[in-house]
């Protein structure tokens, strides 16, 4: 009987946290620095008895009370372009926004691209990143980036850190119309003229980049129940 009661309470707690069922992750995902910092700062403030606005994320400068780090669920693409000299990497990026509740208001969506560790003593070539919207969901092994819809084009000197891109407008659209979420197409090219003699070295660099590339979407949302006008008045 105690077990049954406890199971019931377990499910109630799960709902309270905004989850449908008890998570059973196989392994813990790495927690990005910014989330750890926000967590530690809030813990420190609570311990010190400082009052905090739980509906404002100071470190990110946005309103919100829930932060989610969505891992990329997309796949690498191996098209004919990759055999071309300048094309280094092609990847479909996909983020599942379905865990965001209907009532939650999106206030931030930041794409993070971690191109992996770089060595100061052995810098690689400059890279050109192009991000475009995917027009249709991938099917039959094919996908179609929207023509002329390259919305981010950035040259990155090597070595580089984690790159961030603001995708709020797009994520809002995906959230309102989930059928529109077919992901993003990421293309990384090596910039400038290159000596054909260093091709093999470049191939190694691109292979390393494919292995180390990590993409994630940091999403901040605001729950009207917790952060609406009535709750502000109550506080």
């Amino acid at each position: 009987a105690w077990g049954q009661t406890f199971q019931f309470q377990d499910s109630v707690f799960i709902q309270f946290l905004g989850l449908d069922k008890v998570p059973s992750p196989q392994k813990f995902q790495p927690v990005p620095y910014i989330m750890r910092k926000i967590f530690q700062d809030r813990e420190a403030a609570a311990a010190a008895g400082d009052s905090q606005d739980s509906c404002y994320v100071k470190d990110l400068g946005v309103r919100g009370n829930v932060l989610r780090l969505l891992p990329d669920q997309g796949v690498f693409l191996y098209s004919k372009q990759l055999s071309q000299a300048s094309c280094c990497l092609e990847k479909l990026l996909y983020f599942n926004l379905s865990t965001t509740k209907d009532k939650e208001q999106l206030t931030m969506a930041q794409l993070g691209l971690d191109l992996g560790p770089s060595t100061y003593y052995n810098p690689g070539p400059d890279l050109e990143l192009a991000l475009s919207l995917v027009q249709e969901p991938p099917g039959w092994g094919r996908f179609f980036p929207k023509p002329g819809k390259v919305f981010v084009l950035q040259t990155v000197p090597w070595p580089q850190g984690i790159l961030h891109f603001n995708l709020l407008h797009m994520a809002k659209d995906w959230n309102d119309n989930p059928q529109k979420n077919s992901g993003l197409f990421l293309e990384i090219q090596v910039k400038g003229d290159r000596d054909p003699g260093v091709d093999s070295q470049l191939k190694d660099t691109c292979a390393r980049l494919r292995r180390s590339l990590r993409a994630s979407l940091l999403v901040v949302t605001l729950s009207p129940e917790q952060c609406g006008p009535s709750s502000r008045k109550r506080r």
Binding site: D10, L17, G18, L19, D20, K21, V22, P23, S24, P25, F28, Q29, V31, P32, M35, R36, I38, F39, R42, E43, A46, G49, Q52, S54, N65, V66, L67, R68, L69, L70, P71, N96, S98, T99, Q226
Partner: protein
């Protein structure tokens, strides 16, 4: 009518008790990344009429205690949290998303009647 003297010894009076909730004990450590638990605390104890003015009491607690002194059928004023503070939780869901959420009113800081 004469007001009866308090029956409860000091240790039985309304005050905050320590209660640590360990996520490991509950088996939730498998998906809650941090914290490992938190000091939730709880309120327990009596709220006798004569002390309702000194036990962080509301005016209503005073009135209820007064009525209870007159009519013992009326329950005593209740010992409840009067100041709560939030906690943040970092956890992982079934989609491998890492979530940081702020929960209001999770820790009892002060109790009253």
């Amino acid at each position: 009518a004469a007001i009866p003297a308090p029956q409860a010894p000091c240790k039985n009076l309304c005050h905050r008790h320590q209660l640590f909730i360990s996520f490991q004990d509950l088996g939730w450590h498998k998906w809650i990344i941090a914290p490992r638990g938190f000091m939730a605390n709880y309120c327990h104890g009596e709220c006798p009429f004569s002390l309702t003015t000194s036990l962080n009491s509301s005016n209503y607690a005073f009135m209820q205690a007064l009525m209870q002194a007159v009519d013992p059928e009326i329950p005593q004023a209740v010992c409840i949290p009067i100041k709560l503070s939030p906690i943040s939780m970092l956890y992982q869901d079934n989609n491998d998303n890492v979530i940081l959420r702020h929960y209001e009113d999770m820790v009892v800081d002060e109790c009253g009647c």
